[in-house]
């Protein structure tokens, strides 16, 4: 009896999907008992609703079907169960809509894709639907990665092998990055080395769709680490860390983090972008002319957010990351011998600063405004002594901490500023004790 009912509900579900191919959200309708003599599957406004009373009927029924398709005999060999692809699709669909982390069900769908009973694009659409109800289901994201790999492999086997550095050309109707996303991109690559990568190594539409899925999942569940790590994976493996995409993502997520100031995972994605962008700048000149301004902008964004919205730890930790990047960049092109008199003066200056940090820094940076921009952008042509730049950055950072601690009334914010200041000082001391 129950089985019969479950079977009927499952076919209701299939009918709903057939009649409404554009279902874009799934949800449960809270309803512990069957109150009306009508189907528990509702479609309204392209949203699929399932009444909760029927979940305990359809889930065991469909799950059982899924497991039976996987059963093995005593010697561990698979028992051939003659099931149509259609019935397997229906069963796995029902299971996954209720419990998105059922790996067995996703694996059966993988086999169906391999047997060409199911198209990758279709299953991507279904997995996106599952994410509207289960936005942080790691298995669903893992399945998407598998599907994307299939799609990317297929496209790259029909066109010349795209490579992160070599120019990639596309013959099979893929959109070139220049036409589709020129407006959104923040800056054109300046050096010839990056100029060769004007074309995107992937299908723009596929990439956009995937990024949109990540965005929706991150929006639906706060601090959705799964969605953001998946996004990083997509940028790395689908867009192959293309310069243009990295820059666009950096400018697109700017708004998002300004509205989600306590979301570590969103900021971590930004750190991924910045780290990847750093690898695009090979020469010392490129690092100084293009990468440092980028870090400067990040410092400024953080100063702005920290001041406007006091007391959010995530922002302070992101600041530490930016500072570390800054240090790394400077250490890359720090020249060991500087006979320039000005720079050696600066070096001595720096050393004085190290011996007595607080007093020295307070003397030098009085207005408390960030100096990063003037240091780097104001001297684009003239070479700035890295030691001097580093010294100024440190000063600015320490001054920023002091300012916050002196003016802010939020106790937690003051503690965060204090611990950042402590961290900075520890770094300077550590560096002095262990010279490279």
């Amino acid at each position: 009896m129950a089985e019969e009912l479950a079977h009927r509900i499952l076919s209701d579900l299939s009918t709903a999907f057939q009649r409404h191919p554009n279902i874009d959200e799934v949800g449960f309708i809270c309803c512990p008992t069957c109150q009306h003599n009508r189907s528990p599957v509702v479609v309204e406004n392209n949203k699929l609703g399932i009444e909760t009373w029927c979940l305990e009927l359809i889930f065991p029924y469909a799950h059982d079907k899924v497991l039976r398709a996987r059963s093995r005999d005593d010697s561990g060999r698979k028992i051939k169960v003659s099931r149509s692809a259609r019935s397997l699709l229906e069963a796995t669909r029902a299971v996954l809509l209720v419990q998105a982390d059922c790996l067995t069900a996703w694996n059966i769908r993988k086999e169906l894709v391999e047997a060409e009973d199911l198209k990758c694009i279709q299953d991507l659409k279904f997995a996106a639907l599952v994410l509207t109800k289960h936005p942080k289901s790691s298995e669903t994201f893992a399945h998407r990665r598998w599907l994307l790999k299939q799609v990317v492999q297929k496209t790259s086997s029909t066109s010349p092998q795209p490579h992160p550095v070599a120019p990639a050309s596309h013959t099979n109707g893929l959109v070139a990055g220049d036409q589709a996303s020129g407006g959104a991109t923040a800056a054109q690559p300046l050096s010839a080395q990056r100029g060769t990568k004007a074309e995107l190594p992937c299908d723009e539409k596929l990439l956009e769709a995937e990024l949109a899925v990540c965005q929706r999942s991150a929006e639906r569940y706060p601090s959705n680490y799964y969605a953001w790590t998946h996004r990083a994976w997509v940028v790395e493996n689908v867009a192959r860390c293309h310069y243009k995409i990295l820059m666009r993502e950096l400018s697109d997520t700017r708004h998002w983090i300004s509205r989600h100031i306590s979301d570590h995972s969103g900021l971590q994605y930004r750190q991924f972008l910045i780290t990847q962008l750093g690898t695009h700048f090979r020469s010392a000149d490129a690092l100084q002319d293009e990468f440092l301004p980028l870090l400067t902008a990040e410092f400024e964004l953080l100063t702005d957010l920290i001041t406007a919205f006091p007391g959010h730890e995530a922002l302070w930790y992101h600041r530490r990351y930016v500072f570390q990047q800054w240090e790394t960049v400077l250490s890359v092109y720090k020249c060991p011998k500087s006979d320039n008199s000005a720079s050696s003066r600066n070096l001595t200056h720096l050393h004085q600063g190290r011996s007595d940090i607080p007093a020295e820094f307070s003397r030098d940076c009085e207005d408390g405004k960030p100096h990063h921009a003037t240091v780097v952008q104001g001297n684009k042509k003239a070479k700035v002594d890295p030691a001097y730049t580093e010294h100024l950055t440190l000063q600015t950072e320490l001054e920023f901490c002091r300012n916050v601690m002196a003016t802010c009334q939020d106790g937690w914010q003051v503690r965060l500023a204090g611990s950042y200041q402590h961290w900075l000082q520890q770094r300077i001391l550590g560096r002095d004790n262990n010279p490279l």
Binding site: G27, C30, P32, G49, R220, P222
Partner: protein, 198 residues
Amino acid sequence: MKLYSLSVLYKRDSKVHLLMGGYDLQSFGYFQRGSVKEFMVFTSQIIVERCREGSRSTVKEQEYMCHCYIRTDGLGGVLIADHEYPQRVAFTLLNKVLDDFTQKVPAHLWPDGNQNTIHYTELDGYLAKYQNPREADSMMKIQSELDETKIILHKSIEAVLERGEKLDDLVAKSEDLSVQSKTFYKTAKKQNQCCVIL
């Protein structure tokens, strides 16, 4: 940072009724929105009932912050936001909304007013505008506009209830909550979910 609901209520002799409400429930699932909205109204009402006239208080309930300001004339406002939304902006907004409401809706309509008799359509506009607290940039700076009244902080809805009162009972007794919303509350509570209001 997000704003979910902004409501104007009237309190007299410890009886409270809703005059007008505005909601932004885009971030909730389509089929949840009805119940979520009912609970936002229910919560706003409970808070205004339990807080004194002339007071400002913020009630933290899971990841939601319910900011409440009741004027001495009985007109009250409740803004439900997430924990990222700056408290100061929330209270400045409540001040502004109550002032605007007083200007546009005559006070003699308040005691018997409800959503059908009162014509005040600004709430949705306010909600949309203040979703981004920096849109109201000047507000971020104005500190003096709020008078000296201290903001009382409560750690949960239970904390504002009177002795012996239980939230479960209030939910069960409520006539404004639908059967579906009550079940929704029970299930959410059983599963210890934090993705629903209350």
